[in-house]
């Protein structure tokens, strides 16, 4: 058996009678970029929350780096090296860019100067150094998303999970985020990405997991995913799929 950095094993999440995720399994190897796609309401964010400890799955298991992290508190998971961003950005508004990133850095150190050093490094790496003293509430949406990534980078994670890090950005900004992801990946960072913007995600992903109505319908390399009938059906509907078949 291959060793995986993270394996999600038969995770089911129910909210009352609503099944948001049903027996979803997938694995992530170290250094990979795996993306999670699916139409609205497919259960991507729920799955994210289950993996990162914000929800306790109804059943199933999540293993990260050999440790069972099912239902473990988010802060403990972050300490193990698995961190996430949020679909809706959550900057610490009253703090400056630097202070935001320092807050992340404090996970590995108790020293103020050490945290400052880590923050400086991270800001250099992802081009926020000029905005270090800006209040985070005054940033543009693109910079806020960048700041979210910076803040979790400061926790020195082994794997990053991005929840729609590109939503609401313009083309240039999307390219910048893509570039950032690829650069970090080359430096050895593992990614799991939830995304809607296909043209952004397909070129950078190693593998794609497709969810529909809480069920995993496909896991494959990007080229095969875009041509898959099931996926087209899920995204564009039965009708379009039928039309497509006839012609």
């Amino acid at each position: 058996m291959e060793s995986y950095m993270m394996s999600v094993d038969n995770v089911t999440m129910k909210f009352g009678s609503l099944v948001a995720n049903s027996n979803v399994s997938f694995n992530v190897k170290e250094g990979e970029i795996v993306s999670l796609i699916g139409p609205n309401g497919a259960g991507k964010t729920t799955l994210f929350n289950c993996v990162t400890g914000f929800y306790k799955p109804s059943s199933g298991k999540v293993i990260f780096n050999g440790a069972d992290i099912t239902g473990v508190r988010p802060d403990k998971i972050a300490k193990l090296g698995l961190t996430r961003t949020f679909q809706i950005v959550k900057p610490l508004k009253s703090m400056t860019v630097k202070e935001n990133i320092m807050t992340g850095a404090f996970i590995r150190t108790n020293k103020f100067s050490e945290a400052e050093k880590i923050a400086e490094e991270v800001m250099e790496r992802i081009n926020l150094i000029e905005k270090r003293d800006y209040l985070s509430s005054s940033l543009t949406i693109a910079d806020k998303k960048r700041l979210e990534i910076a803040r979790i980078l400061a926790t020195q994670p082994k794997m990053i999970m991005l929840d729609e890090a590109m939503a609401g950005l313009n083309q240039t900004e999307i390219k910048e985020v893509m570039k950032l992801i690829v650069t970090l990946n080359k430096q050895g960072m593992t990614f799991v990405i939830v995304e809607h913007i296909m043209e952004a995600i397909m070129p950078i992903s190693d593998r794609v997991v497709v969810l529909n109505a809480g069920v995993k319908i496909l896991e494959d390399i990007p080229q095969n995913v875009v041509n898959n009938d099931e996926v087209i059906k899920a995204y564009l509907g039965e009708k379009y799929h039928a039309k497509n078949q006839k012609s």
Partner: protein
Amino acid sequence: MEKSITNNKKMIGVVLLIILALPIIVQDNNFRHIMILFVLYAALGEAWNIITGYAGQTSFGHAAFFGIGAYTSTVLLWKFDIIPWIGMLIGGIIAVVVAIIVSYPAFKLTGHYFAIATLAIGEIMLQLFVSWEYVEGATGIMLPIKENGYKYMQFHPMNKLSYYYIVFGLFVITVITAYIVGNSKMGFYLKAIKENPDAAQSIGINVTRYKLYAMMVSAFLTAIVGSFYAQYVTYIDPFMVFPLALSMQIVLITVIGGLGNIYGPILGAAILIPLSQYTRIIFGGTGKGLDLIIFGALVVIVTIFQPNGLVGLFENLFKKIKKKEAINDGKLHDVS
């Protein structure tokens, strides 16, 4: 926004020195009494600021810790002849234990609900002490007269200045604690929790634990100030040290001065305490509540025009001056 004034050690030192010097220069007992109360409330505000200003957990029940401090040192002195300095420490420790016991479940609540829970805790304490015979219930305790000097914190005849030195020392402790908390990992974590608990958790912050730490520090500081108060007035009863009005005064002082800021409680106390004392001097019984009317109006004005409190006003002024300097130096970029 290079360095905000709140982080300037020298500035804090100067402010503290001025506060220390005032009652030494002005040799008026009445004035000294007002200074003692001012510094006492400023210290309480600093302590409260840690849990509410920094961590964002509104407490309306801080009188509980104040009263615990006051009663512990008093009972220990009265029944066991233990000097108030030790009583003060023990009171602080008991307050910390009570804080842990009541806050741990209360932290499951957020926002207004947490505030209501703390309100209840304050009232429960009041009722408890009213009907607790061991501590003389509602009758209250008269402190026994001990030898003159700092050992028993008693000065005969009344020497306000000595009391002032003690309370000023406590005040400095709270200011230093607030400064250290504000400029350390804990301060960053508390601010993150206040801003966004989810984001805080996602970067590895144990939200409940840090809220608890903040509450413990806050309760300890509040209790030691409470102990001093009992020594100063030499008589306590539950309605003096556990009233809701006290909790509210602490809240008002800090909110009007500026939440989450070291100068906030100092500024707030500098306005409310002289106001309440001098209206009492001038109007006597007829003017009862007049200070709160004025203060209420101030709160309304401050919340409308400067939600960051009076400190926000000064900070804005400071920023404007900086900006002007930057324009003059020709290196301004938009930082608003």
